[in-house]
């Protein structure tokens, strides 16, 4: 038991550190790398939550595709060589206060609520997910595919050269 707890604590540290670095570092490439670190931690957390499938999915899709795409964009837009102005102090303080307040409200609610913990454990296997996707959640499933299609088309349109307007 102990070791799971220690690993859990380490994971929490990784996640939070990654997040803070993703937000705080000046160089945007470092931000992307920190994001990848954080996402690895989140994937590991999913294993703790009895969903190995999702952990793998997280790694493949989020880290493997999305983060790489982000890095693509960073490279293509060359923000590293540009001089960025430092952020306004007032803005930083404002957002820090707002985020802190938000966290405070959430934390208080989380801590004060009596969550109804269920006793039984259901079926978390990939078989169960598949069954659900094709029966009760079939509609969102189809809609998601539609959204992906639209996203592809949109991305194509937006990135086509200017003189080819159609």
């Amino acid at each position: 038991m102990m070791i799971t707890e220690i690993v859990f604590a380490a994971l929490v540290i990784i996640i939070l550190t990654g997040a803070l670095l993703a937000v705080g570092l000046k160089n945007v490439f470092y931000n992307a790398l920190a994001l990848i670190l954080c996402l690895f931690g989140v994937a590991a957390l999913f294993i703790y939550l009895n969903s190995e499938f999702l952990a793998i999915m997280e790694v493949i899709v989020y880290i493997g595709a999305i983060s790489i795409a982000i890095i693509f964009a960073i490279m293509l837009s060359r923000p590293m060589t540009q001089k960025t102005e430092p952020e306004n102090r007032g803005k930083v303080i404002r957002s820090a206060v707002l985020s802190a307040l938000f966290f405070g409200v959430l934390a208080k609610v989380i801590a004060s609520t009596a969550w109804p913990i269920a006793s039984e454990q259901g079926d978390y296997s990939i078989k169960g997910i598949g069954k659900m996707l094709l029966s009760t959640q079939a509609l969102p499933f189809e809609v998601i595919s539609l959204i992906l299609l639209i996203a592809i088309i949109g991305a194509l349109v937006l990135s086509s050269p200017e003189d080819n307007a159609s």
Partner: protein, 103 residues
């Protein structure tokens, strides 16, 4: 610790707040996008935690997280196209330069 709902919820809340801070602060559009991904992930953790501890009979939370991930992919592709387009137009991706819709 790893078996209590509240710790997962705390992680989620913390991640959300950090992501929120990033969205509100960073001038670089890509950095804003990265912070937005943090927010989405925090929500995924929250869904999974509730699925495991509160609504344990069905794996509805996992299905929802699948959807979230799929949507995040679609959104990122569009967002990055927009960022590249903006970079072509304005020459920089500083969000404080895009203030034409002023009142």
């Amino acid at each position: 610790m790893s078996q209590s709902l509240t710790s997962y919820l705390f992680i989620s809340a913390a991640l959300f707040s950090i992501g929120l801070f990033g969205v509100l602060t960073r001038r670089n559009l890509v950095a804003m996008l990265i912070s937005l991904e943090l927010i989405l992930n925090s929500v995924s953790i929250s869904f999974m935690a509730f699925n495991r501890f509160v609504f344990a009979d069905k794996s509805l939370g996992q299905v929802f997280v699948i959807f979230i991930i799929a949507l995040a992919a679609a959104e990122v592709s569009i967002a990055l196209s927009l960022i590249l387009w903006l970079h072509r137009k304005k020459g920089s991706i500083d969000i404080e330069k895009a203030k034409d819709l002023r009142g």
